[in-house]
Symmetry: C2
Subunit: 132 residues, 2 copies
């Protein structure tokens, strides 16, 4: 079974989705990600979907669920790198990714997490990570 690697960058976990997600892979990713959040105490999750040219309702729901799980574990989720066609498809499917923030690229996503976490008065260090 393919597993998607979860990369740690300071207090942020970065997941780059490059393959078409099957049910098993998506479930494994959710398991791995929640374990990793607990293990590392990460405060933010960046999901990069720049490699995805097609997003269906399954992936849309998977992203929403992942964000909801992360939020319960006290980590903010930002989806980055969405292609224009994907955005159109998501809206046409009626999937507006409620509760998920988006940013154009990883740098902007880090900046967004930095400001969001900074406002929350958290002691995270992602401020150091983001510069535009």
């Amino acid at each position: 079974m393919d597993r998607i690697p979860i990369l740690r960058i300071g207090d942020v976990l970065l997941v780059s989705i490059q393959i078409d997600l099957q049910d098993q892979t998506a479930l494994a990713l959710q398991d791995d990600l929640s374990s990793k959040i607990v293990e590392t105490g990460a405060k933010g999750v960046l999901i990069d979907i720049s490699a995805l040219e097609i997003v269906d309702s399954f992936i849309g729901r998977m992203i929403s669920t992942t964000a909801a799980v992360s939020r319960v574990l006290d980590a903010e989720t930002v989806v980055v790198g969405m292609q224009p066609a994907v955005a159109i498809t998501l809206v046409e499917l009626g999937l507006t990714l409620d509760g998920v923030r988006t940013a154009l690229d990883v740098d902007r996503g880090l900046a967004l997490l930095s400001s969001a976490l900074g406002k929350a008065g958290s002691d995270v260090e992602v401020d150091d990570l983001a510069h535009e």
Copy 2:
């Protein structure tokens, strides 16, 4: 044709290889990466291979070539996330990845790039990115 996304984090480009590289994909990655280095003025390249359980001589050579091309374009390459079995295989194949630095994970790779670039007297900003 699959393309591997290249993520920009400050002055560093991050490439996470998750699929078995075929010739076409590897060539496309080298093209994309060199274009992106020139376009962004990146000073460092992190290649994450934590998802690879098998590395053959083709991938080994690809990594060496990518590092050599990056160096000519004034960017340091660090390979991160190598699994123990992969390290053993590389040595058994006689591929010692000359001229390529390695680090255990992305955070350590960023720290390594930061210190390497700092010593070179460069004006890069990766110092902000790395903390262990």
